[in-house]
Amino acid sequence: MNRIENTFTKLKEKGESALVGFVTAGDPDMRRSLDIVKTMCASGLDVLELGIPFSDPTADGPVIQRSSARSLEGGTRLSDVMDMTRSVRASTDIPIILFSYYNPILAYSPAFFYDEAVAAGADGVLVVDLPPEESDEMTGLWPGDKLSLIRLVAPTTPRERMDYIAQAATGFLYLVSKTGVTGSDGLDLAAIAANTAVLKSISSLPICVGFGISAPEDVAAIAAAADGVVIGSAFEKIIEDNLENPDLITIMGATVKGLKTATVR
């Protein structure tokens, strides 16, 4: 059993939903980013989504756009993200998902990306702008199947397309909570519950819900139905608001602990 299956199986036994945390690698700089991520992992995070910064993040709202820009300003390259993954892996057993736009992977070469990611200890990859229609050009160059390909399902996705996406997915399915970019407001908890139920009826993969979730009460409500809740912009907002604060890492740890409590049903 791989780390992703293992994690979701154990959580299910305990009656918990997974707390999935996204941060951009290298924000605000590589040293602090590594400290932040290690602290989050040690504070109860169940799955880590590590963002590879990109110059043109069209699926992201302003908070993650700025985090990506800060990281790139610090010179973060994909090879640095691989080094960071290796370092995080040395201190934790939780699944690590690399989150990226396609162009940095294309420039790195998809085959090399696979080898490096697997060697570094990553468990999966989510490529936000690579739909199933185009993804063979990436996975076709992968020399193995040790990396799960996490797929997105959106509120706009028609039922028959959900089937198509679910068939191509491995690891878990990522349900986008709303029609909008990351970090936008206006959660419709009833619609999320309904879409989660549909996905559960067509796939045996765990269902994680993300985009615009930050309040502990929303986390608790979504955790009641979904296998995981993804928090991204809310973590990045804390980083951005505490760039000069020496307590930043402590604050991130405490926030993870608080949110993790909300995922226990």
Binding site: A59, N103, A154, V181, S184
Partner: protein, 404 residues
């Protein structure tokens, strides 16, 4: 099947209508690289375009608008004094600057606006660089009674102020975009982000032969009226086809519109990219001639990027060419060798701008001035019995602030 083996795969060369394939690929380029929230919308758009655009109702409505409203057909004009100045082949201008709103962009916005109308969408959004596509979209929205929101980089708002005023007069809301370099690339990023949140009732009118499938093919089809007219007009004028076509290339819509109906003809096609302050300075927008293969704004093509796959900022004096990507069909034409791509610097474009003003009484857009500049060089290398059609894609009133 006549195929070309490329580093990226096999490309089918069986005539212009062979591209794109049903997945939106132009050989190894094109495709659909967008987030899942938008995938159903662009699949619906592809189906709507395929089923509605060939209908007599749609075609008749579009033809009436192009003729009665946009002022088509536009003239083909033999620029004799310019030709004499260049010294060589006849330079013949396709006068897209004479369309309503002053650029070829209206051909496409009327087509997409009508499609939006036929599919029941009530709001239009668009990105704009020089403001010409923004003005054309705002014009179309006013004509069809739709709400309109235009995304424009703050640097472009500064350098193309007259067009901002025009869009506002036409009832559009101009949304300033300050991320990145504040130019066309960033405006397109923001338009895509907005579209994700408003995809149910909003039609995204992309202004170039870029973006995810079906946009590159659809925009080409709405712009090919330029080449269809020009081909007939030159036959009427001189009884033969021209020896070459020249058009500027930012995203590449005016060039694709002119080139496409001539693809099967034995004539040269030249796309002129913005060389900015000179290729050696790195401050340019020469995507095809200097870029590498990448994915930007939903399709695979040439892009200006660093070795880590981060998109670089382009530079051009002309806001409409200031874009680090290019339409995927141009990437294919470059790879197959069917078209060639060259560069013209800011200074060369400015010089051609002034020459055309003084010799022909035509004030061209800075974008189109790049094509004029190269056409003069090309004409000088050719004999007097040869001819070159230049797409004069827009008029230059909007640029007067930059020139003063």
């Amino acid at each position: 099947m006549n195929t070309l083996t490329t580093p990226m795969g096999e490309a089918n060369l069986d005539g212009p209508n062979a591209f794109p394939d049903e997945m939106g690929h132009f050989g190894p380029y094109g495709g659909r690289y967008v987030g899942e929230t938008l995938m159903p919308a662009i699949i619906d758009l592809e189906k709507a375009y395929a089923s509605i655009s060939p209908t007599p109702e749609f075609q008749e409505a579009l033809q009436v608008l192009l003729h009665d409203y946009a002022g088509r057909p536009t003239p083909l004009f033999h620029a004799r004094r310019l030709s004499a100045e260049a010294g060589g082949a006849a330079i013949i201008l396709k006068r897209e600057d004479l369309t309503h709103t002053g650029a070829h962009k209206i051909n496409n916005t009327l087509g997409q606006g009508l499609l939006a109308h036929f599919t029941g969408k009530t709001k239009l959004i668009a990105e704009t660089g020089a403001g010409q596509h923004g003005v054309a979209t705002a014009t179309t929205a006013a004509l069809l009674g739709m709400e309109c929101r235009i995304f424009m980089g703050k640097e472009d708002i500064r350098r193309q102020a007259p067009n901002v005023r025009r869009m506002e007069l036409l009832g559009a809301r101009v949304v300033p975009v300050s991320s990145g370099s504040g130019t066309l690339k960033d405006a397109m990023n923001e338009a895509m982000r907005f579209w994700v949140s408003a995809v149910q009732d909003t039609f995204y009118v992309i202004g170039s032969v870029a973006g995810p499938h079906p946009y590159p093919a659809m925009v080409r089809d709405f712009q090919k009226v330029i080449g269809i007219e020009a081909r007939q007009q030159i036959l009427d004028m001189q009884g033969s086809l021209p020896n070459a076509l020249v058009a500027c290339v930012g995203g590449g819509s005016n060039a694709m519109g002119l080139f496409y109906p001539f693809l099967e003809d034995d004539i040269q096609m030249i796309g002129v990219e913005a060389g900015g302050k000179g290729i050696a300075t790195g401050k340019h927008a020469a995507t095809i001639t200097q870029g590498t293969v990448g994915v930007l704004h939903g399709s695979k093509s040439f892009v200006l990027q660093d070795s880590n796959g981060q998109i670089q900022e382009a530079h051009s004096i002309s806001a409409g060419l200031d874009y680090p990507g290019v339409g995927p069909e141009h990437a294919l034409l470059k790879e197959t060798g069917r078209a060639t791509y060259v560069t013209v610097t800011d200074d060369e474009a400015l010089s051609a701008f002034k020459t055309l003003c003084l010799l022909e009484g035509i004030i061209p857009a800075l974008e189109s001035s790049h094509a004029v500049a190269y056409a003069m060089q090309e004409a000088a290398r050719r004999s007097k019995d040869e001819s070159i059609i230049v797409n004069l894609s827009g008029r230059g009133d909007k640029d007067l602030g930059i020139l003063s």
